[in-house]
């Protein structure tokens, strides 16, 4: 099926006088890993919950997997790992996954095989028969991921999947997300851990105060802050430094930052440095990190909104 996995035309959610989502619109391409970023309270979880009918949106227009958002049967093609997922302590890992299988209508004869495979995929094969009460946080997240995949969903929503998980576990989860993408699934990840999202996401949207303030592909968004960095042997002479700064370049000690889209624009700076007898020891192309982009976008939004 063609078309985006999720196409939100307009999504609004009010809690009394508080607007959690102020008319959001975004598009999630099929087969991509989509990262929804935002500070705490930005409305990330509210958006996912609205798409999954856990929250009743005040106003919602859009489609998910080609059907109107909220279409009950479509939820059978969706997987979900909630933030701070709480599974019944009296169940074993295998039973948690089997419960999700039953709820999504996976035939009984297929359930056992799928559960076995998923326990293996998430590295919990040896723990499948043990009660959840004996699991660590990381183990619960792995089981949570497995239950989200048991119905072989077309789209998987992961709300803060690495929250409380140790670095090794985070790497594993990242690999699992990459695996989901390789299988052709769309993965929608909510996270405030920007470094991780940057490593796996194709597309991101930044949400602040219930509004999407920036969205696009990771390469496109981080590419807007592309610059070159020149390192010199010893500090840049003060006379030259003043000239470079006057030209809009950033100079700090032995480092010169040149905002430029391609290397051609840097040549004149190199020439000026060389003419002044400065020895260049390093030249590198640098992109804005997702974190820098996020911070500048969120701060910009705060200033626009008149907040400190």
């Amino acid at each position: 099926m063609n078309g985006p996995a999720v196409e939100i035309e307009y999504l609004r959610k009010r809690y009394g006088g508080f607007e959690a989502l102020a008319g959001v619109s975004l598009s999630v391409p099929r087969g991509s890993v989509f990262g929804l970023l935002g500070p705490n309270g930005a409305g990330k979880s509210t958006m996912i919950k609205s798409l999954l009918t856990i929250i009743r949106p005040t106003e919602c227009r859009g489609r998910m997997l080609g059907m109107p958002i909220g279409h009950r049967a479509t939820l059978g093609k969706v997987g979900y790992l909630p933030e701070h997922a709480r599974f019944a302590e009296y169940l074993t890992g295998r039973e948690v996954i089997a419960y999700s299988a039953g709820m999504t209508g996976v035939p009984v004869r297929e359930t056992r095989g799928r559960v076995d495979r998923l326990l293996e995929t998430v590295g919990m094969k040896a723990w499948g028969e043990k009660k959840l009460g004996t699991y660590s946080k990381g183990m619960r997240q792995r089981i949570g991921l497995a239950q989200a995949l048991v119905n072989e969903p077309e789209i998987v929503f992961l709300d803060e999947p690495t929250d409380g998980v140790d670095p090794e576990g985070r790497i594993d989860i990242r690999k699992m997300i990459e695996g989901m993408k390789a299988e052709g699934r769309t993965v929608f990840v909510n996270s405030h851990l920007l470094g991780e999202v940057e490593q796996v996401a194709d597309q991101v949207a930044i949400l602040s105060h219930g509004k999407v303030i920036r969205s696009g592909s990771v390469a496109e968004l981080t590419g807007t802050g592309k610059h070159f960095e020149i390192r010199t042997l010893g500090p840049v002479p003060s006379v030259l430094r003043e000239k470079l700064e006057a030209a809009g370049l950033q100079v700090a000690g032995d480092k010169v930052g040149v905002p430029a889209k391609d290397a051609g624009e840097v040549q004149s700076v190199i020439d000026a440095l060389r003419a002044a007898g400065v020895v260049i020891r390093e030249l590198k192309e640098s992109r804005q990190t997702l974190e820098e982009l996020f911070l500048s976008a969120v701060q910009g939004a705060r200033q626009e909104g008149g907040q400190p």
Partner: protein, 339 residues
């Protein structure tokens, strides 16, 4: 269907995980075994499989009174006190947390994000909670059925009415616990609410019963009671007191919308049919049989009218309406809420 079975199976696993379920089941088994240990011989009644003997002119092997006593022991003592009181209280303690736990943050999301409607999810979860009592009473009643057949030779299938009736009684209180649990998300409030409703309902039913006895049973039994001196005299005919009748009518009107927890279990006596008892021993109580005496026809007639004063509709119909209203409120809160 698959989702429904999954939710019910999950409810069963939840019960299995509760210690109170096994404790209640264990006590049930002991009570049922004690019941099965009661027998009759040529002298009277025996307990603990013949270990102890009690002489009784009425309760002798082969006598219809003995069979009736055996049924009455189930309906008037074990069912009334163990199943309808203690087992229901234990079940409430065990199940009050089901909905508050289910709707907790991080827990409900997984179920709600599946292709199962909220109302269906709510109702299946609710019926899953009723399994606690239904399973207990079912196991208990099977033992009682076998014991009854063994001791009296009567394989009385009507004893199985205990399963739906006691489960219904529990469901009346559980619906209140569910409503408050869904509304407040608190197990404590859910429990308090259910026990409070139980108390209010019992108080109402006791008052109605007491006023009926004063207005109808006592005069119909040929007893005149002086409420100022406390003196009672037996007469052939006693005129009913119109004030007492009015009080009773008012009490009945007040009690009508409440759940009839006590009256439902009392009504069970009428549902468990026993040919001998129903024809010969109408109006005879458990205490009378135990003491080896039978009442005079006037009193037994009055007792029978007392036992049968409420219609099926009054007892079960009004209770079902109460439950439907409370459950609708709970379902409405559950379906409308954001999680």
């Amino acid at each position: 269907m698959r989702a429904a079975m999954t939710i019910l199976w999950d409810s069963f696993r939840l019960l299995q995980a509760k210690k109170l379920f096994w404790i209640a089941l264990g006590i049930s088994m002991l009570v049922a075994l004690f019941y099965a240990s009661i027998g009759f011989n040529a002298q009277g009644m025996t307990i603990f499989f013949g270990w102890k003997e009690f002489e009784n002119p009425l309760l002798r092997q082969g006598q219809p009174e003995a069979a009736a006593f055996y049924v009455l022991l189930f309906t008037d003592v074990i069912l009334k006190f163990w199943l309808a009181w203690i087992a229901v209280a234990l079940a409430l303690l065990s199940t009050a947390s089901i909905f508050p736990d289910f709707i907790a943050e991080g827990s409900i999301g997984i179920s709600l994000s599946k292709p199962v409607g909220r109302l269906r999810l709510f109702l299946l979860k609710y019926f899953g909670g009723l399994l606690f009592v239904a399973l207990q009473v079912a196991v208990f009643t099977v033992i009682v059925f076998l014991a009854l057949g063994w001791r009296t030779g009567e394989w009385n299938l009507t004893v199985f009415w205990a399963v739906p009736v006691v489960t219904f009684v529990f469901s009346l209180l559980y619906s209140v616990a569910v409503w408050i649990g869904v509304w407040t998300k608190s197990t404590l409030f859910a429990l308090l609410g259910a026990f409070l409703m139980w108390g209010v309902a019992l108080l109402g039913q006791w008052t109605e019963s007491f006023l009926y006895q004063a207005a109808h049973l006592v005069p119909e039994s040929g007893i005149e009671f002086d409420y100022r001196t406390g003196q009672q005299t037996e007469k052939d005919e006693v005129e009913k007191n119109s004030t007492a009748i009015d009080f009773h009518k008012t009490a009945k009107a007040v009690v009508t919308p409440l759940p009839k927890t006590r009256d439902c279990t009392t009504y069970l006596k009428r549902l468990i049919k026993m040919e001998e008892r129903d024809s010969m021993l109408a109006g005879v109580t458990f205490d009378m049989l135990l003491s080896g005496s039978l009442p005079d026809p006037k009193m037994s007639g009055a007792m029978k009218r007392n036992d049968e004063r409420h219609s099926f509709w009054y007892v079960f119909g009004t209770s079902a309406i109460f439950e439907a209203v409370v459950l609708s409120l709970a379902a409405w809160v559950f379906c409308r809420r954001d999680y």
